[in-house]
């Protein structure tokens, strides 16, 4: 039996590690006659993205924007209604590609709730050895791997392997979850609000650790968070979502330095000021995000956008490349019919 060596790079550095195209997930809404209301939550709508080897792709957006659904689709915890995925050249779940199981060996995930994601009846050591054993690693080697993993996440193996999840603090439990995600030596780790529940002083410890592990193990991250500051700190590229759609995608410098989409701008200026002399005077946009069950026609942001015009209700803006970043806004598309559209 192979002893679970890391998966080799295949396509070289230029080939994206993960390519997803046209991903769509609509959840039926229960209720109505015979439990079929006919309504759907359009959680993710025709979303395409690529993740380069060794980068950190940040995903930001408010609740209901579909960012967690994207994470679950990418690791196939839920099956997409449509769309394809390619992992380092291999199509996923297709005749000549790799199986979903193989995908999950190479792509792992860390969730927000550190307690709910651990089995309360297993010791930390048993939890960490579970997946390697399931993939055929002999018991002795699995024990060695547990020690190595705990060591990597800064927990003393002799002290922690025998403990149960309830005996650990939130920060320690999240370290265990990260160790478990690394147990099969994955190439891509999806961090879904992984530090959001931690106190600030502990969050900083875990962020430092994530940066170290990435370098040490040559990992690629997808970092999903509602905290724009943390995303800016970790990410190389940033994807901004609103109601199941990508509204803007670009380098962290472009997104934070020169945001183009009105929603990205609003999101950035809604961050509380850290300077008491320059407090926020006015909220950038009013109201709450609409319900994803019935998203607005055309551009989904138009109901809260200060620049909305007729064209925004009629046509859905495609994600168009503007040089430094890609933006889905009629104002950035020449000849779109918006009065503020860029000149050709």
């Amino acid at each position: 039996m192979e002893s679970l060596v890391p998966v080799e790079d295949r396509g070289g550095p230029a080939q994206p590690l993960l390519l997803a195209s046209g991903l769509r997930k609509h959840f039926p809404v229960p209720g109505g006659l015979l439990g079929r209301s006919g309504k759907v939550v359009r959680a993710v709508d025709d979303l395409s993205l690529s993740v380069a080897k060794g980068e950190t792709l940040g995903v930001v957006g408010e609740s209901g924007c579909g960012k967690s659904t994207v994470a679950r689709l990418l690791i196939r915890l839920i099956k997409p209604d449509r769309g394809t995925m390619v992992l380092d050249g291999d199509p996923v779940d297709e005749p000549h590609g790799i199986t979903v199981n193989e995908l999950r060996r190479q792509v792992q995930m860390v969730f927000q709730d550190s307690y709910a994601s651990l089995n309360p009846r297993l010791t930390i050591g048993e939890t960490l050895a579970f997946a390697p054993k399931a993939h055929g690693l002999p018991a002795a080697e699995a024990r060695a791997r547990v020690r190595d993993l705990l060591d990597k996440v800064g927990l003393d193996p002799t002290n922690y392997a025998e403990r149960y999840p309830h005996e650990l603090s939130g920060g320690q439990r999240q370290r265990v979850n990260i160790a478990r995600a690394l147990a099969l030596r994955p190439r891509l780790v999806i961090l879904d609000e992984a530090v959001s529940a931690l106190d600030k002083s502990v969050e900083a410890q875990v962020l430092n650790m994530l940066v170290d592990l990435k370098t040490e193990l040559g990992l690629t991250y997808i970092f999903i968070s509602h905290d724009l500051n943390v995303v800016q700190y970790l990410s190389d590229r940033v994807l901004v979502m609103y109601l199941g759609k990508i509204v803007e995608l670009g380098s962290v410098e472009a997104i934070y330095g020169d945001p183009q989409h009105p929603y990205t701008r609003a999101l950035l200026s809604a961050r509380p000021s850290m300077d008491p002399r320059r407090r926020t005077k006015e909220a950038p946009i009013q109201g709450d995000p609409p319900n994803p069950i019935d998203p607005p026609s055309g551009c989904r942001f138009r109901t809260r956008c200060p620049f909305a015009e007729d064209v925004c209700a009629r046509a859905e803006p495609p994600l168009a490349d503007t040089g430094a970043q890609a933006v889905a806004c009629h104002m950035r598309i020449a000849g779109s019919g918006h009065s503020k559209a860029v000149a050709t």
Binding site: E62, S63, S169, G170, G171, Q172, D199, K200, S201, V202, E203, A204, Q205, L207, N208, V211, H226, D227, L228, N229, V230, Q232, Y233, V252, Y256, A266, L267, A270, R271, P272, S273, M274, D275, P276, R277, R279, T280, E282, A283, P284, I285, Q286, G287, D288, P289, R304
Partner: protein
């Protein structure tokens, strides 16, 4: 500005057959009318317990407390049932993190606000509904007449939080307690609610105590900020001083470990370790175990809260030593 609330040497201990938790260990502060005091702390620091003590919301049979909490001169900790009932809602009101659970799901928003108005002010049915409508207008809820008839689940999170602020302000309290009221809200909605609280506080000239774990939020709303750690205020200062020149090693660590603009690529200054277990009353400084400036006299006895000028208070032996050095 006169003193509205005076808290002195407050201790709160929860006792159950299994364990004892010393949640608050000697907290003192004042709140003036028209002022917002931010209380900043991590989970388990005692910030919410302190806040809830002001309304005596803790289960009586499991809570032991000592010290004093005076609102406009009236002692709250020894208050009788009748006075306590007048205090809650009428003189002191509170808004919570999760408005969905703070409202009763089976009654409309209007019904719940009007009921509160009738109960505390003795207004009639029609007048109480008029007042409810005015309140929804005051918190900038669009089409308030229709919204009165809405049930809590029919409103978005931001709207519900506005409605809860309306309910809290319905009887013109002199003190508003806010327990992480924007933590569950989306970023673009959070800033709207923060600005609303700030505006209403000025308009109505109420005192506000705003508990949060988020420094940015505290900076947006507070006139002064108190930093809590392990059941004590370790530093209390006007907001500018707290941001520009924090003196306590924990406040400094907290500010340094909070990620913000321009930190990309730099290593974060994390505070090692985790907060202490509150089962035992600490013999020395509670932060000593995690502090990089720890000295032998830190663990000998708990340091006092000392004034370091300009209503800036710090609880640290280092500051004692520095001040002594300056004086000598």
């Amino acid at each position: 500005m006169s003193n509205l609330l005076q808290v002195r040497d407050l201790h709160v201990t929860f006792v159950t057959p299994d364990r004892t938790v010393n949640a608050v260990n000697g907290v003192s502060f004042d709140v003036r009318r028209g002022e917002t005091l931010g209380i900043l702390g991590e989970s388990g620091s005692g910030k919410s317990v302190t806040l809830r003590s002001i309304l005596r919301l803790h289960p009586e049979h499991r809570t032991r407390w000592s010290g004093s909490i005076k609102l406009e001169g009236d002692e709250i900790l020894t208050m009788g049932r009748g006075a306590l009932s007048d205090l809650r809602g009428q003189r002191v009101a509170m808004i919570f993190q999760e408005p969905a659970t703070a409202f009763d799901p089976v009654f409309t928003i209007g019904h719940q606000i009007a009921e509160t108005v009738r109960r505390h002010t003795g207004k009639g049915e029609a007048d109480s509904w008029t007042r409810a409508r005015e309140l929804l207008e005051m918190v900038r809820i669009p089409s308030p007449a229709q919204r009165l008839k809405a049930y809590p689940h029919e409103m978005s999170g931001g709207m519900r939080q506005r409605a809860m602020i309306a309910l809290a302000l319905s009887c013109n309290p002199s003190l508003l307690l806010a327990d992480e009221p924007t933590t569950a809200l989306d970023a673009t909605v959070q800033i709207q609610v923060l600005l609303l609280i700030r505006e209403l506080q000025r308009e109505l000239d109420v005192g506000v105590i705003f508990v949060t774990h988020d420094i940015g939020v505290a900076v947006e709303v507070s006139d002064r900020i108190g930093v809590m750690y392990a059941g004590k205020i370790v530093e209390l200062a006007p907001v500018e001083q707290m941001v520009d020149a924090p003196r306590h090693p924990y406040s400094r660590g907290l500010l340094a470990s909070t990620v913000h603009d321009g930190m990309r690529g730099r290593r974060l200054e994390a505070i090692p370790g985790a907060p202490p277990d509150l089962a035992e009353v600490p013999t020395g400084c509670s932060f000593a175990l995690r502090c990089k400036f720890v000295q032998s006299n830190c663990v000998a006895r708990p340091p006092d809260l000392r004034e370091v000028g300009g209503s800036h208070l710090v609880r640290c032996v280092l500051v004692d030593a520095q001040e002594a050095g300056v004086a000598a």
